[in-house]
């Protein structure tokens, strides 16, 4: 299998007219990314995208936490599809990898076990009086950005270039397990040679870092994070990835899944507090970006308008490398420009030599 084999895993991505389904995790931790995605699509690219006030969570975290039965999530998903049709759309785009995995899985299950689709139709009608049509096109929101990557590249105000050296920024990409491990054909590049984020990075001037644990889980593990007693699993798996990527000195990590973004960001904080280890250069953590933030920076958006102040690992070292002009003090302004104080200090942002991660050679 060669690196170019990603081209075997292609899929059709609608060019316009999307019904948008939001992510529970993204709206909590990266609301600026969600806003940026909607703005990029509607304002920068002139596409039609509908944010429906009627849709809900797909309940995916509950499903993979095993408290939501299969029949229940099938019917919740069927309701989302019904809302899409009622709003006059056929192209469904989900902002969450867990949801995206569920949508692909349930569509395949209905195909393979038609009795489950029939029962879902009955359940939905009985519960809500609604009827659904399956989407003509299903894409993750990163697929949509990937689809428009060249157009975004043409409008770029900045490139993924280290302005100090003129070299491409070195980027670790993480697509998230449920993007392509459940149905490899549903993801660009499949699960072995993922290209959805790599394609954006290469198009916008950066360079992808390949490293041993590239395909390893971020460590979410659903119940292994949701229950405090189990969080050792979560941090240990994030640690394994971070330790594996550190020797390649990435300038930043970009992730497909909002959960992965959050874990790779927050566990760096926890690891630094617990054992003094940081994985980035100069004794700091490695900044973790969502692909919307990466696209937003390329298009010239202000980092604080993108919500990058909500990250635990400071992003300023990356902004400086990219040559992004920003107002450092505006980071801590709330709505209407009100100063709201700063977060407490954290070792992961300390640049202390004592916490420098020692790269094994």
């Amino acid at each position: 299998m060669k690196r170019s084999s990603w081209t075997d895993y292609q899929k059709e991505i609608a060019d316009n007219n999307y019904y948008y389904a939001r992510s529970c995790i993204r709206q909590n931790f990266f609301p600026g990314s969600e806003k940026a995605f909607l703005n990029i699509l509607s304002k920068d690219l002139g596409r039609d995208i509908y944010d429906d006030p009627l849709h809900t969570s797909c309940t995916g975290i509950g499903y993979h936490g095993d408290i939501v039965p299969l029949e229940t999530i099938m019917t919740v998903v069927a309701r989302q599809f019904a809302l899409m049709s009622e709003a006059g759309y056929e192209n469904f785009t989900s902002s969450c990898i867990t949801s995206f995995g569920i949508y692909t899985e349930l569509l395949a299950t209905w195909e393979e076990f038609p009795e489950t689709e029939e029962r879902t139709r009955e359940n939905l009608y009985k519960a809500t009086g609604r009827e659904f049509t399956k989407p003509k096109n299903l894409a993750h929101t990163s697929d949509v950005i990937f689809h428009h990557r060249k157009e975004i590249g043409q409008k770029a105000k900045r490139k993924l270039i280290n302005t100090y050296t003129g070299e491409p920024l070195k980027v670790v990409e993480h697509i998230g397990c449920h993007y392509a491990k459940i149905f490899p054909k549903s993801g660009i590049g499949g699960s072995e040679f993922p290209y959805v984020l790599a394609g954006m990075v290469e198009e916008w001037g950066g360079e992808i870092v390949d490293y041993p644990e590239r395909r390893h889980c971020c460590g979410f593990g659903f119940r292994n994070y949701l229950v405090q007693a189990n969080r050792g699993y979560s941090i240990a798996n994030s640690h394994r990835k971070l330790e594996s990527m550190a020797p390649f000195k990435p300038d930043f990590i970009v992730t497909n899944c909002p959960g992965c973004s959050m874990f790779l960001d927050k566990w760096q904080y926890t690891i630094a507090e617990m054992e003094g280890t940081t994985f980035g250069q100069n004794g700091c953590g490695i900044p973790v970006l969502t692909y919307e933030e990466m696209a937003g920076l390329v298009l010239g958006y202000d980092p604080w308008e993108l919500g990058m102040q909500m990250h635990q690992v400071d992003v300023e070292p990356l902004l400086d490398k990219m040559g992004v002009e920003y107002d450092p003090s505006a980071k801590y302004l709330g709505v209407n420009g009100k100063y709201i104080g700063k977060p407490k200090k954290a070792i992961v942002n300390s640049r202390s030599k004592e916490t420098l991660y020692r790269i094994k050679r």
Binding site: R22, C24, I25, Q27, N28, P31, E34, D51, P53, L54, T56, G60, I61, G62, H64, G65, D66, I67, V68, P69, L70, E71, T72, T75, V76, G101, F113, T116, N123, A127, T128, C177, H178, K181, S191, C217, F220, G221, F222, R223, N224, L226, V227, A229, N230, G232, Y233, A236, R240, K266, Y269, E305, G307, H311, G334, V335, I340, P343, K344, K345
Partner: protein, 231 residues
């Protein structure tokens, strides 16, 4: 066919997940849970494939079925097209339906997931909302999260016009009509019945263990206690 295999076979995930395992161990090699816990999906699939009621009942009562993180890394790698993660989902569903989950430390944690994520879904329309991710329960969320929770109105309203309000946009309040539809879906499809089963079996077990019921103390204990016997 044993009674448990018969029950498991009613779950399409079991049918899809178990074809014929040749015990190669690739699933174990790539499994994040196997690298952390004393857990071996290859062995678990082997037990299920043999189909002995006694062995499967032991599994349904054990910690073993609760280690998997459902990342599904096993699925694309299996050379025979099995999905251990799907088999785990079917086993967990059956263990809860039969009330056997309360017989293990990790299984008892289902109450914590039901009372956090499950109750969030029905009360807010989302699996999680900022106000329910309390820094005291989530120290790993760090200093920036503490700052966000303290200044939630000032921060979130920069990014969404409808923070905690009905309307379109991130973190909007889900309307009562929508929540009623969600509740009805849970009633019709067995979601509410599963929530009730988790509560009832937890109540029974809590009393058996000397608690006054599945109260706040029991909840906090299942949420935080780790016997460290899992590695």
């Amino acid at each position: 066919m044993g009674k448990y295999i018969e029950m498991l076979s009613e779950d399409v995930r079991f049918k899809e997940g178990l074809k014929a395992c040749m015990n190669c161990g690739v699933c174990t090699a790539v499994c994040p849970a196997a690298s952390f816990y004393n857990y071996d999906p290859r062995q678990l699939i082997s037990i299920v494939q043999r189909g002995e009621d006694e062995d499967i009942e032991a599994l349904l009562k054990s910690d073993t079925i609760w280690y998997c993180g459902e990342c599904m890394s096993c699925r694309p790698r299996c050379p025979r097209g099995n999905t251990p993660g799907y088999i785990i989902q079917a086993l967990r569903t059956l263990s809860q339906r039969l009330g056997l989950f309360v017989e293990s430390e990790k299984g008892r944690q289902q109450l914590a997931i039901k009372r956090t994520i499950g109750d969030n879904i029905l009360s807010t329309g989302y699996c999680l909302v900022p106000k329910h991710i309390k820094p005291a329960m989530h120290p790993e969320q760090g200093t920036v999260w503490e700052w966000i929770v303290e200044h939630d109105q000032d921060i979130y309203t920069k990014f969404t016009p409808s923070y905690c309000k009905v309307g379109a946009g991130a973190l909007r309040k889900t309307s009562d009509e929508t929540l009623a539809e969600l509740e009805r879906i849970f009633e019709v499809t067995g979601g509410k019945a599963l929530f009730e089963a988790i509560e009832q079996h937890s109540e029974r077990k809590a009393r058996e263990m000397g608690y006054e019921g599945a109260d706040e103390k029991y909840f906090m204990d299942v949420y935080t206690h780790n016997s460290n016997q899992h590695y």
